[in-house]
Each structure stands twice: as structure tokens, then as C-alpha cells.
């Protein structure tokens, strides 16, 4: 009430007059001190020094940056590339010599297939070369939509999405779903594209030993215990397992049925990378899900690149619409990059046609893989790494000398020896400092349907000779 307030005010003023002088002076000093503290500048302890302009100029003058890039010596092994003149098909001309190709991932021999080239040419005559735009800005052509439909039908999933670069496919797919705070369980032998996707996603990463389901289960159990301690956080932490169908680094398969069992038991989603197994495994070439007879709906996302069996460029992801549609607005490599040139998409469609018309080639490829696997056994000094039906095998040194660079020197000399004798092989290349778990150096041997028996015979005897001459 107003009068009540007035009365309190009068009391205050009276008290003011009646207070002793020292009390008033003390109060006044305190108030002034508080005002001074409020307005004085706070200083952080470690910046109690202030540099003068002169000192700053001196620091700027003195500072010398490192060289932009460290100097590379002229005889760095990766500096000189092999030059291929002419098409990289079955007979490949490397550094001027015509060799039999055991190095390109041309599993189904479609790189120089006439039908594929004709279709690409027709598409070039209709659309030109480039698309001049990302998918969102008039870069979507009807060929892209057709290819996506065809891939979805081929893999019997609801939807597929195409990327214009194989490496970017998995590297854009993982960060689209998994963000900071989520949990990803990855195999140690995962390829570099997966590693970059993991790094971009900023999630927690846990590696489990290669193809070791017990190790994975142990990690999942640990995570379950953590979740029980903190159920609120667990309700929003998404968990993923990322594996490859056929590993490019070790040429073996992931145990998919066990993974699906673990998925339902521990409620984690599976992302499967099928670059090496698409168009290779399974009765119709549908990959590792067909090979094991696993229901494709159990896998949340399958990603593959079209640069191996489907001899084109680019990559795709397929799965249920619920999962794939999200990438159309949040896959970085999809939204912010130009779309696949239409002629490459047309070539991929034709390759799919060939794969659908003639499932016999997969049987032929598997036979050849088994043949090569048997033939490469027992080379003194080299051991064969991989499954019998893997199309890209690794030959590692049986006894490592201890130093990676001398191992690589030795293997490179074998490759050069074989190149001299017209067999094109290649060393498996890695970025040594960037890989998480480096595999031992190896020679990559690729099997294609175009290789005839005497080609294989020649190659095997060449490698055997090289090993016996150079590996003493």
C-alpha cells in the first residue's frame, strides 16, 4: 500500500539522520570501493604482460614458418607413376610394354566391353560430357534417376542414391547419420574411405579385431553396461557397426550372419561396405548378403563403389527409403558436389544389364579365382593372403625383414621383374602415416574373367621365378 511504503521511507530517512557519523563514513567508503571494483578492468593471470607495438613487430619479423610441403627426394618410390598408354583392359601397355593385366579391378572384364562403350557414346551424343551442377541445381538427369531405380531393383531394396566419386560414398554416408556423441564399432581392417568417414563424423570409435566376433561382443557388452548406468544418455546415443563385405586390405569376408544376430541382440545398426563384393559374390552378383542368404532388409545401409566390377565411375548407397532418403539433404558428397556425368551413368546401367542377363559370369569368375588361389600356393618366400573366392588377393613376404621400406623394396623388385616379362602386377599402396592399422606390404593380384588359363600359368610361373631369384 502506498501509505505503508511511505511510512517505511520516512523511517529510513530518519534512521539516516540519526546514525552516528563514523557509520555513515564507513558505509560511504564501502560503496565507493564497490563501485571502483565493479568498473576496474579484470585481468587474467597469464596475460599480465602487455606487449608493446615494437615487441609485436619484432615477433612478426622473427617468425619463420615451415615450408608449405616438406621436400620429396627425387627417388621417392611413389613419385614416378607407371604410365599406361591405351585402354587399361586385359592387355595393358605399361611404360611402353604390352602386359597381361593382373592389376586393375576389372573383375567382370567390362572395361572394354563394346556394348558399354556404345551406350556411353549414345549418352554422350545426347547429353554432352558434364552435368554442370549439383543434384539440387538442375544436375539431376533422367539417367541418374534410372540408374538409381535399376540399382534398387537389382539389390531388391527400396531406394538407392548415387555419388559421383567412389571414395566419397562411404565417407559422406557415415557422417550423415552418426554425429558427435554417437558410437561406432569398426573392424580394424576397414578401408581408408571408412576411416575418413569416421573422422568426419566426430563420433566415438571403437575398433574390434579383424573378423573377431568375440571381441566385438565384448565391446558391445561393455557398452551395454555403460548404458545401464546412464539410461537417459543411452536413449539418444545411436550405435553403428561398420564392416566391409569383402575387405580390400585382407581379401576375406566378414561373418555376416553372426553380425546380424549381434545387431538384434544389442540393438546396433549395420553399415556394410561392399565395393569389392558387389558384382562378385552371390549367385547373381548381389554381394555378400546373397552369398550368405541374409535378408537384405536386415542391413541398414549398403554402400559400394561402381569402379570395380561395374566398370564405371562413382558409387552408390542402397537400403530402405527411411535410411537412404536422409542422405539427399545431408550427404555432403551428394549435396555439395556436381553429379555424375550422364555417360558414366549410362555405362553403369549397361553394365547392370549385362550382369542381369548373364549370371554365368559370376560362376566363371569364381572358378578362375579358385584356380589362381590354388596356383599361387606354395611359392617359396611369399604367402598368399585371402579367401579362395576373393578376386583381389595379396602376396605378402613370408619372413619380414623388420623394416617396412626394405620389404617394399623387395616386393617392388618382384613387380618390376614381372613387368619386364610382360605380366602387370602392382604393389598395394597405402598412406603409411595416415592409416590406423597398417597392413604388411603386399603385391596385389587381381583375377578377371578375361584371363585365360595360359595367362594365369604364365603369371604364376613368372612370380615363382621372381621369388626364387630375388628372395634369397
Amino acid at each position: 500500500m502506498a501509505s505503508g511504503q511511505q511510512w517505511v521511507l520516512v523511517e529510513m530517512v530518519q534512521a539516516f539522520y540519526e546514525a552516528p557519523a563514523y557509520h555513515l563514513i564507513l558505509e560511504g567508503i564501502l560503496i565507493l570501493w564497490i563501485i571502483r571494483l565493479l568498473f576496474s578492468k579484470t585481468y587474467k593471470l597469464h596475460e599480465t604482460y602487455k606487449l608493446t607495438e615494437r615487441e609485436k613487430e619484432d615477433l612478426i619479423e622473427e617468425w619463420q614458418p615451415d615450408l608449405l610441403v616438406p621436400l620429396i627426394s627425387k627417388d621417392h618410390p611413389s613419385l614416378k607413376y607407371n604410365i599406361v598408354s591405351g585402354p587399361p583392359s586385359h592387355k595393358i601397355i605399361v611404360n611402353g610394354k604390352e602386359c597381361i593385366n593382373f592389376a586393375s579391378f576389372n573383375f567382370l572384364g567390362l572395361l572394354d566391353n563394346e556394348r558399354v562403350k556404345e551406350k556411353a557414346l549414345m549418352s554422350l551424343k545426347k547429353y554432352g560430357v558434364g552435368t554442370c551442377g549439383p543434384r539440387g541445381f538442375y544436375g539431376t538427369f533422367d539417367v541418374h534417376l534410372e540408374l538409381e531405380n535399376r540399382l534398387a531393383k537389382f539389390m531388391k531394396t527400396e531406394e538407392a542414391i548415387i555419388y559421383s566419386y567412389g571414395f566419397a560414398t562411404m565417407a559422406s554416408a557415415i557422417p550423415a547419420y552418426s554425429k558427435r556423441g554417437d558410437m561406432i564399432f569398426v573392424d580394424e581392417a576397414a578401408c581408408f574411405s571408412i576411416q575418413k568417414g569416421l573422422q568426419a563424423s566426430r563420433s566415438f570409435i571403437k575398433y574390434f579385431k579383424h573378423n573377431d566376433m568375440e571381441d566385438l561382443e565384448r565391446l558391445l557388452k561393455e557398452q551395454e553396461l555403460e548404458d545401464q548406468k546412464n539410461p537417459r544418455k543411452a536413449r539418444v546415443t545411436r550405435k553403428f557397426i561398420v564392416v566391409e563385405g569383402m575387405y580390400i586390405n585382407t581379401a576375406d569376408i566378414c561373418p555376416l550372419p553372426e553380425l546380424v544376430k549381434l545387431k538384434y541382440r544389442y540393438k546396433v545398426r549395420i553399415f556394410l561396405e561392399e565395393s569389392m563384393s558387389f558384382g562378385v559374390l552371390g549367385e547373381h552378383g548381389k554381394g555378400v548378403t546373397e552369398h550368405f542368404g541374409v535378408n537384405i532388409d536386415d542391413i541398414d545401409l549398403i554402400s559400394a563403389n561402381m569402379e570395380n566390377a561395374v566398370a564405371s565411375i562413382g558409387g552408390f548407397c542402397c537400403g530402405r527409403s527411411f535410411v537412404i532418403d536422409h542422405q539427399r539433404l545431408s550427404g555432403q558428397g551428394y549435396c555439395f558436389s556436381a553429379s555424375l556425368p550422364p555417360m558414366l551413368a549410362a555405362a553403369a546401367i549397361e553394365a547392370l544389364n549385362i550382369m542381369e542377363e548373364d549370371p554365368g559370369i559370376f560362376i566363371v569368375l569364381r572358378e578362375k579365382c579358385k584356380h589362381v588361389y590354388k596356383a599361387l600356393q606354395g611359392i617359396p618366400g611369399l604367402k598368399l593372403v585371402g579367401e579362395p573366392f576373393a578376386p583381389a588377393l595379396h602376396l605378402q613376404l613370408e619372413k619380414s625383414s623388420g623394416s617396412r621400406s626394405s620389404d617394399m623394396q623387395l616386393l617392388r623388385s618382384i613387380v618390376d621383374y614381372c613387368l619386364e616379362r610382360k605380366v602387370a602386377l602392382t604393389l598395394a599402396q597405402y598412406l603409411e602415416k595416415e592409416e590406423r592399422f597398417l597392413t604388411p606390404p603386399s603385391i596385389r593380384v587381381v583375377v578377371t574373367v578375361k584371363q585365360k588359363d595360359d595367362d594365369i600359368q604364365k603369371a604364376v610361373s613368372c612370380i615363382r621365378e621372381a621369388a626364387s631369384v630375388l628372395l634369397k
Partner: protein
């Protein structure tokens, strides 16, 4: 030397239409038709008068004119109100869908996986479900011809408010194309570029199936890189299959922990991703604002790394030639002057400006009449002016040698497709005039 506060031309409220250099109130890039914006800017730039000559007249050989229209207040308010109303309606719709009053069109999680942690947070998809779906028909029209000056679009209708589209089978012919990045008109299906590409695709095939370091390095790749180095006026160049991947895979090879990246506010997603993947410290300076950049440079050199105060290993300034979302051109002479003074390195992303700017089409360096050797790393893409696909990095021989050994793309990613490479070679020769004609 060069810096003084009054460096911004025609700013500080002289004339109500001239905005200060920097932000526009709304930058919803995905929704705006960006191509139309940047064309509008370019035209404005030439027409507007300059009130005050730029202070750095000695650096620029002609006046640097740029003006950005200020958004009228009414439009801004109405836009935000529109968003507000749509959000309210979105919540209402969600409510109706939850109670099954309205039919739900969106894809759902599998039955067996209903008790998994949800894949998307509710709010992540709110925009897609309720706002984007309504207006989805405005974009993403499939094209069914060459993306040239006129193109054909596939006709489509939607019977359920844009949730699904039905293709009627008809095409809309001869639509004027203001949407494709076909700056120099090389996206053609007839003519010498297409013929050359056709020849090469029959000779070499379409795919390569191997990486550059293994057995995927074709002779035409080497030829293209030599031509590119001559085109740009640098010592050496290297090309990659995707422009986005060029940035995201090579910046981590150039910088690492202990380095500093100074990146413009409006840099492209690929530059931001590359900077993040490299592990360096990132500091952002205001868009095209040289004072902000200089302040950051001085602070960085004087104080060193945060908390330890050790000196930085290197400082990399990342700018773009033309910023696709704003249509502004980088102030390259000033950036180069700053970089020389403070010994930083410059990474120039010429995705949109290569082929499009400059009297000889050599990009923003040519536009300002500068020496290409001043830019440490020149990066660009072939998608826009050359009508192909892919990206490149060019610079000194040591830089390219290093990238040939250590770039992620050279080791793990498949090399470029032969017809695409041929298209680049032919179109570049045409621009350089080496093919004997004067079309370029």
C-alpha cells in the same frame, strides 16, 4: 604499408543501398536460386557508381566495385513470420499424424527395429517433413537434354502434395536455362569437344578401375596436367576426379596439428570439411574483410598456439575466387600483400572463377593482373567452365611432387575417366587458342 581503416569502398552508409561488406541478414542458400543471385550481383557491380575511390588504388589496376542490396525490412519481417507460421503448422501436423488423424506418408522404421535408438532426432527431420516437402517441386527437376542455353525438363505431377512424384512421360521442351553452371557453354553434345570425347571413350573405355599410384595413371592424365600447368602459368598441376574431394582430401595432406587455417566466413562446405579433417586450428575471418584477416594474422603470430604459445608451424589462408552463395569476388591483391607481409600461405579455390574471370579466362589472378606464382596453392574445378567433372591443384613443382606421393586421392581413389579428361583437354585448348580457332 598497405592497411588503413578506410579501405572499404562505398561503405559506411553512403547511399542507403550500399551495404557494408559482410553479412546479409538471411543466407538461406539452399532455398534461393543462387545462380540468379550471382548473375544479378555481377550486373549490379558494373552499373553502380562509386562514391569514394578505394584507398588501395595502387593495388588494383581498375576500381573494385561491389555492392550488395540491403534487404528491405518488410521482406525480412514477412519471411520470418512465414517461417513461424509454417513451424506452428508443422507442429500441428505432427500432432495430427501422431494421433493418426492424418495419414502418414513418410517412411517409417522397420517393425523389428522399433525399439532401437531412433536413427534421427525428431527435430532433424522436422524441416524435411513439414517445410521442405511442401515446396519440393520447385527444385530438382530432372533434365533430359544437354544443359545448354535451352534444355528439356521431365514433366512430373504430384497427387499427394509432393510426397511422391509421377512422371507423366512428357517433357517440357526448350526451357531457358539459368540454373546450370555452364559459364562458357562447353556443355554441348556436338562440336569438337564432344567428338574428341567420343573418340577417346571408344579407344580407352569409360572406366579405369585403379588408382593413380597403382596402374590407373593413363598418358592422357599426364597430358592434361601439363596443359593445365601451362594454362594457369604455374610450374606443375595435378587433377582429381571430384572437386569436393579435391579439397577434402588434399587440405589434410598440406596442414596438420600445430598449423593454423584462416578461413573466410562463407567458404564452401568442402573447404570446411578439409580444414576439419586436417586437425589444424581453424579461425574464421569476416567475409572479404581485410582488417579482420590482418588482425587475426597479427594475433596468431604474436601469441602463437593457444595455451602453449609455441609458434605456429604454418598459417594457411583459405579464400575462394568467387563465392557462389554471395557472388562476391575475393580482394586478391590485398590478400597477397598481407600474405607476403606476414609470411602466410595462400590457398585459392577457383571453383567458379576459373575460365570465367579475366581477359584470357585464367581466373581471378588474371582478372586482377597478378602473378600466379604469388598464390601458393591454386585449386579449381572443371565442372563449371569446362563442362567436365573433377578438380585440380596447381602450384610449384615441390608442392605437386608432394601431393603425388601423399594425397589421399592418389593412393586410394580411382583416377579420372578418359572421356572426361579429353573434354578438359579440348576445352582448355579452345580457351587458350591452341586449337587454331578463335572461338576461345
Amino acid at each position: 604499408m598497405t592497411e588503413s581503416p578506410a579501405s572499404k569502398p562505398a561503405s559506411n552508409g553512403e547511399g542507403c543501398l550500399h551495404a557494408r561488406n559482410g553479412l546479409k541478414p538471411e543466407r538461406n542458400g539452399f532455398l534461393k536460386s543462387l545462380q540468379q543471385q550471382s548473375r544479378h550481383r555481377d550486373r549490379n557491380r558494373d552499373e553502380e557508381e562509386l562514391h569514394a575511390a578505394p584507398h588501395h588504388g595502387d593495388l588494383y589496376n581498375r576500381p573494385f566495385l561491389e555492392s550488395f542490396e540491403e534487404t528491405p525490412m518488410l521482406v525480412a519481417v514477412l519471411t520470418y513470420m512465414g517461417y513461424g507460421i509454417l513451424t506452428v503448422f508443422g507442429y500441428l501436423r505432427d500432432f495430427l499424424r501422431h494421433w493418426k488423424i492424418e495419414r502418414c506418408h513418410i517412411a517409417r522404421e522397420k517393425e523389428e527395429q522399433k525399439d532401437f535408438v531412433p536413427l534421427y532426432q525428431d527435430f532433424e527431420n522436422f524441416y524435411t517433413r513439414n517445410l521442405y516437402m511442401r515446396i519440393r517441386d520447385n527444385w530438382n527437376r530432372p533434365v533430359c537434354s544437354v544443359p545448354g542455353a535451352k534444355m528439356d525438363l521431365v514433366d512430373r505431377v504430384s497427387h499427394d502434395y509432393n510426397w511422391t512424384f509421377e512422371y507423366t512421360g512428357r517433357t517440357v521442351k526448350a526451357v531457358i536455362n539459368l540454373g546450370s553452371y555452364n559459364y562458357l557453354g562447353f556443355a554441348e553434345n556436338t562440336g569438337r569437344c564432344a567428338d574428341a570425347a567420343a573418340e577417346v571413350s571408344m579407344a580407352y573405355g569409360v572406366g579405369v578401375a585403379s588408382t593413380r599410384q597403382e596402374i590407373g595413371n593413363l598418358d592422357i592424365h599426364e597430358e592434361m596436367e601439363d596443359l593445365l600447368a601451362r594454362f594457369l602459368g604455374v610450374e606443375s598441376a595435378m587433377a582429381f576426379g571430384m572437386g569436393f574431394a579435391t579439397n577434402s582430401m588434399n587440405i589434410p595432406a598440406l596442414t596438420g596439428k600445430g598449423c593454423l587455417i584462416l578461413s573466410d566466413e562463407l567458404n564452401h562446405a568442402s573447404l570446411v570439411l578439409g580444414a576439419r579433417l586436417s586437425g589444424s586450428t581453424i579461425r574464421v575471418f569476416k567475409h572479404n574483410n581485410m582488417q579482420s584477416l590482418e588482425k587475426l594474422l597479427r594475433e596468431a603470430i604474436v601469441h602463437g598456439q593457444p595455451r602453449t604459445h609455441r609458434p605456429w608451424k604454418k598459417i594457411l589462408i583459405m579464400v575462394e575466387g568467387i563465392y557462389s552463395m554471395e557472388g562476391s569476388i575475393v580482394r586478391l591483391p590485398e590478400v597477397i600483400a598481407l600474405k607476403r607481409r606476414y609470411r602466410a600461405y595462400l590457398y585459392l579455390d577457383e571453383a567458379h572463377s576459373i575460365g570465367a574471370l579475366g581477359p584470357r579466362g585464367r581466373g581471378v589472378v588474371d582478372h586482377f593482373g597478378l602473378d600466379p606464382r604469388d598464390v601458393d596453392v591454386m585449386m579449381g574445378t572443371f565442372t563449371k567452365s569446362f563442362g567436365a567433372a573433377g578438380g585440380y591443384i596447381a602450384g610449384k613443382r615441390e608442392l605437386i611432387d608432394y601431393l603425388r606421393c601423399h594425397s589421399h586421392s592418389a593412393v586410394y581413389a580411382t583416377s579420372m575417366s578418359p572421356p572426361v579428361v579429353e573434354q578438359i583437354i579440348t576445352s582448355m585448348k579452345c580457351i587458350m587458342g591452341e586449337d587454331g580457332t578463335t572461338i576461345g
